[in-house]
Symmetry: C2
Subunit: 592 residues, 2 copies
């Protein structure tokens, strides 16, 4: 299956919507010049289109194999592609210079992640998880741990994993049982079983750095007794060379619906040596750093599978001849018209296009705040950035993966019967996209995080700031007649979200189940409002430049489609939210 990196769209966001150049005086942004950005985009595009994309179907059909000795063999070509990736220094782009990184802003690495994950999601998870583990160690690890692990993780020689889930607990980490015993020499012995560990064991790197949640003997019960440990596959000698094999082993590879190319392992820790990351019993805090990075990355995965499915659906829709257009033949000399002439095929393509481009903008726009949170000199900006990251992470994760899956299903639908046949490849996008709705906190958990924690933080400051920004934009552009139709859509979605927020304030506290019952609809409403704002920002620029390049005219048409065909869902979400929890909770358990 084909993949073509949407470079022009990425440039549009970086150069025009976000206007990255305006930050060139801020720390890491100094290096992120237009020239650098373009070179990076073009080189990574080549690698993803030419190396990773052709391995995607291979990964799906071969999967990962656990050998009798517990080692894991990844699909043919995965290891070589990873070697190429490291040789080209791709893992270093966004990492700290102190540990060998190039220190470019995170917002810029997002497009690299997007390309990799669009071309080959299962492969991209190996470096993706390394990045998450790197972030947690960077933020919470001691200088000694950082010195030992980070340089090799930055170079890509070592990869990383996250070990949270156990058979009896995923969402509810307070129940976890993996034990840590203090050896008295600074190390701990870790014992327990972890499941669903992506990239848990494989042959792509010389060492694997596991970050493992465990409970120190005598620690309090629940979430307040959980600590985070770094547990390397091979112990590291003082000189940096690899020592003994740590008893952190793959007991089984799970057979999954998708992402077959990634090794999802049951990991057995049998008195494996580990070292504490951060403080005792504060493991969840340290893990949250990793999880926020990961959640943005998973939202991105939703976009990626939607994008690739869309691209391949477009190719097929232009090629497949079937029936005549309802308004008269469009390919009169052929036996039938290409199916792209049919409105219902258009509906599926336009839904995907409008959501993909809006979601990309929303992801990048939020990621920019992630950078500003660190590098801005303005306290107000830093506060706002912090607020936005907290508030929007669950929206980006939940909304974009839900819609991404829907779009992947629609892309498959356009192929008709061929979509159901594995050989054609469209099924894989659907099966791969499915996991993004589940892992890193199932989407229902994201929705609850949004309404139950994020909304109310600091007296609702974050959401008020978001509304305030939209109001200011609307006001500042109220004289722009050409922009009016887009502003109208933005106002509709913003008014719905505001009404839903008010409803939650009045009813969610009285009965917490009202908040829970509203949560998923609220998250989707927030997603639509966010994308409406992005589309209005994009439309404004496109209006200024229309005529100069067909790209801008297409943007305007797609923005119009978004307002006409996606925004109407807001009313349905709001109406459902406002019915409250009563009918949802009315049945006793045995009435089901």
């Amino acid at each position: 299956m084909a993949y073509k990196a949407p470079i022009r769209d990425m440039q549009f966001i970086y150069d025009e919507v976000l206007n990255i150049d305006q930050y060139s005086d801020l720390g890491t942004f100094a290096e992120a010049t237009k020239e650098t950005r373009d070179v990076i985009l073009e080189e990574m595009a080549k690698f993803c289109e030419q190396v990773l994309a052709p391995l995607n179907h291979v990964g799906d059909t071969e999967g990962c194999v656990r050998n009798d000795d517990g080692s894991v063999t990844t699909p043919k070509g995965f290891k070589e592609a990873y070697q190429q990736y490291c040789e080209a220094a791709w893992p270093t782009i966004g990492a700290e210079p102190e540990f060998g990184g190039q220190g470019l802003p995170h917002v810029l690495t997002l497009s690299l992640q997007e390309m990799a994950s669009s071309a080959n999601m299962a492969w991209a998870m190996y470096p993706g998880l390394t990045h998450g583990a790197y972030s947690a160690l960077l933020t919470h690890g001691s200088d000694e741990l950082k010195a030992i692990y980070l340089p090799k993780m930055v170079s890509g020689e070592w990869t990383g994993t996250m070990n949270l889930t156990e058979p009896h607990c995923g969402t509810d980490l307070g129940l976890l049982r993996t034990k840590a015993e203090n050896n008295g020499d600074g190390s701990y012995n870790i014992t327990g079983q972890k499941i669903f560990i992506s990239a848990g064991e494989h042959d792509m790197s010389e060492n694997i750095i596991h970050l493992v949640l465990a409970r120190i003997a005598g620690a309090p019960e629940g979430t307040k007794g959980i600590s985070l440990f770094v547990v390397p596959k091979f112990l590291v000698n003082k000189d940096g060379s690899l020592g003994a094999r740590n008893p952190a082993t793959c007991g089984k590879i799970e057979e999954k619906m998708g992402i077959h190319g990634n090794s999802t392992c049951v990991m057995n820790y049998d008195s494996a040596k580990g070292w504490l990351v951060g403080e005792e019993n504060k493991g969840l805090n340290a893990m949250f750093v990793m999880m926020n990075v990961a959640r943005l990355g998973v939202g991105l995965q939703g976009l990626c599978q939607s994008e690739t499915s869309y691209q391949n659906a477009v190719i097929y829709a232009k090629d497949r001849l079937q029936m005549r257009s309802l308004t008269g033949p469009k390919n009169p000399t052929g036996p039938a018209d290409p199916i792209i002439v049919h409105p219902d095929v258009r509906r599926m393509l336009m839904d995907a296009k409008a959501i993909n481009e809006g979601a990309r903008c929303f992801l990048y726009w939020t990621a920019l705040y992630g950078d500003l949170m660190h590098v801005s000199n303005d306290e107000a900006v830093k506060t706002k950035a912090n607020d936005y990251m907290a508030l929007l992470t669950p929206v980006l994760k939940g909304y974009i993966t839900d819609k991404g899956f829907e779009n992947a299903v629609n892309g498959q639908q356009i192929y008709g019967g061929h979509g159901f046949i594995e050989e054609w490849g469209m099924s894989q996008y659907v099966r791969d996209a499915r996991i993004a709705m589940i892992y890193e906190g199932a989407n229902g958990v994201q929705a609850l995080d949004l309404v139950g924690r994020k909304l109310a933080q600091n007296g609702g400051r974050a959401v008020q700031s978001f509304f305030g920004e939209i109001d200011a934009f609307v006001k500042a552009n109220s004289e722009n007649a050409e922009l009016a139709p887009y502003i109208k859509g933005l106002k509709t979605s913003k008014d719905s979200l505001m009404a839903a927020t008010m409803w939650l304030m009045q009813n969610g506290m009285v009965n917490f189940d009202n908040a829970g019952a509203a949560s998923t609809n609220y998250m989707h409403l927030f997603g639509i409002c966010g994308l409406s704002y992005m589309w209005t920002l994009m439309a404004k620029i496109a209006l200024e430049k229309k005529g100069s390049e067909p790209f801008y005219d297409t943007k305007l048409k797609t923005a119009t489609y978004f307002m006409e065909r996606i925004v109407p869902d807001c009313a349905a979400h709001l109406a459902k939210i406002q019915t409250g929890a009563t009918s949802m909770m009315a049945l006793s358990a045995d009435e089901f």
Copy 2:
């Protein structure tokens, strides 16, 4: 995975909602007494729960294997289950007594199909396709052909298939190339390749009766030159014994996303002997008989995977302990509460429950008209029945398979990470359910059939009749205060559907693309309206009997949920429809 036939719900529909007993003076209904119905339901339930359900996962993991000699081996246990099914005379239930059937009404066989397909969709397709082929032969075959083939198809000794699709055409059958040459002795030689042929070759029956669309040499181009042929795997001697092997062979088994237990074959016809069914060049008419039967059956499959996924999600939601209820512990002595206490889990369960029970009622209610069309003595009823079958078939197929897939995905979601692991079985329901949106006319084709053909037939008589029935019901029950909240929901959805219908009348003819652009939303709106009506009918009975059995109270709560949480989608569908085709069709092909 478990499956428990929802017998009480089926009885509720047959006995109370449809009140089948009122038709006992009408032909085949005489035999369909309450006692007979109950025995059939209970016996079939046992077979499906105990024999078919345990084979479902086996079918998924083993799949079908094409052997070197072209024969196909079905998964372990499939053949034996089929033998048991035939020995118990299940295939005869709904068939004509003239050919060995028991002649019970079709509406009654629907529940048997439902149970089989819920327990094991891939297996149920073998007898399901036989039923479709039987119907086409019964309606259009000559007496001679009927005498040769039907008795053995009724007994189940022979199975049937439908051969429409070719590599370059599925929806657009006018393009088909398979040739038929007249041998001058009443037989034809059929040559060509068909793809996606479900149950095309297998080891479950001694003969396979293929119904094949082909073009007789010299026939007109397009759909007006297509004829239907019966092509047996083994020729049948005068005495009914099997003769020579016909060169109708399986060239390949497709690797599919789901329904692995059904053999989806590439069928090669290499001068295979066939006999004309119906008139020359009128093959599509004959095939439509089969397709309408099949489409109702596919709508049912949507319900079935939704139902089984739901049932297993309920089991897990009651068992899995994770987090505490938002309103305080519900399982204080346990380490956490069962996840069924969480509103967002409820949302997914209630969505499925409300749609499943509404869809079941809508399917059975429509199938009853299918029977009345044949047996009623009242011309007005026959006309209405004919109209409803034509109008509602695409709605049932498209809406219920779309929603059924969504519900299957939600059932999987409730399992969290375990839902993604094949061992747990929830992935299979999703993968199996996916095909129902595609085959027998992709759902977009159903939607176009609805707005482009069915709505306008006989000057819109069918839809007016449907609206008239709802209006009369609303009027007749306007004094029923307890029913008022349900009537309100029904009116909302009916008013939206009416407004959409008016819009289509005014705008669909001016620009056919407006009809195409509205089609899928219109189909969904129609589905919601149909289910609203069903839920109001069910609520009326439940109100009359509430308190006598907890079943009725649960029905009322579920009806309320449907009105509050599903009906609000109507407004979104209507708003989207009313935007027309402009933004959907705005892009030129190269702008995608």
